[in-house]
Symmetry: C2
Subunit: 159 residues, 2 copies
């Protein structure tokens, strides 16, 4: 038995529950559920960020923080590392997971692509929340070109 499974099952239930009870069938209702999920992810990310070992909190290079998300955060939550990290060196980072665990169970047909956003919102929030605890304001979005590969785009908000 594994905690990884526990998190995945719980995440599945959360998505299903929010979709069943919250959403109007229209795009407005879906948007609301996505933002609820993103918000839950944000607060969980914040809380996880606060539990980081103190030495981790000492790094202040933006790139180090992003590497930390790709490695430590991803291992803690998904038991694997992110597959690649790219940057334009101007505050935009693309984190790619070639087999994102929360998408793996979905059949990989094109017709399921439109279902993908609801399985990504929580994790976008998780990244944004952890960054927030580490002192970095950001916007995080996700896109899927072919299942189960997923790209998270992090745009740092300069103050």
């Amino acid at each position: 038995m594994a905690d990884a499974a526990l998190f995945e099952f719980l995440h599945t239930e959360m998505v299903a529950e929010l979709w069943a009870h919250h959403s109007d069938p229209g795009p407005g209702g879906q948007k609301m559920s996505l933002s609820v999920l993103e918000g839950m992810g944000f607060r969980v990310g914040q809380a996880l960020g606060e539990r980081l070992p103190q030495e981790t909190l000492a790094f202040r290079e933006e790139l180090d923080v992003l590497k930390f998300l790709c490695k430590d955060l991803w291992v803690a939550v998904f038991q694997k590392q992110m597959d690649s990290l790219r940057t334009n060196h101007q505050g935009t980072y693309v984190l790619q997971d070639n087999s994102f665990p929360l998408l793996i169970r979905m059949a990989s047909g094109l017709q399921y692509l439109e279902e993908a956003p609801k399985f990504l919102a929580f994790t976008c929030g998780l990244l944004r929340g952890t960054l927030s605890t580490l002192g970095i304001k950001s916007l995080v979005t996700a896109s899927v070109a072919s299942l189960p590969t997923c790209k998270f785009q992090v745009v740092i908000q300069k103050t």
Copy 2:
């Protein structure tokens, strides 16, 4: 960083979310949220039950199954074992956790006791769901006399 924390944070968010958006302030709305949480726990328990190693599924003594919940399931979810297991040998079991992780963060004043049920519903469902996968129908309730000690009562439903 720990998966245990991840589960706890996620559980906290789930409870808060269901209370914020689902509940009418009255007892009817609260009952609905409790049953939603219990249902989510049930399905997560079922799914976890299906991931058990095959040899585990071979035991058929009722007491062995309950011991399994107290040990293996509890460790997988809460990183600790249940503190005691009692039975009347007539299908009723009382599982006691002297410091139930989902209650530990609550201040331990008497005035918080009434808040406890919403932090127990998911876990009642989790026990019922795992038992269901193992072929046992049950009713599971929880009670708290003094925080953070918690008793789960499992009553086996004979068919």
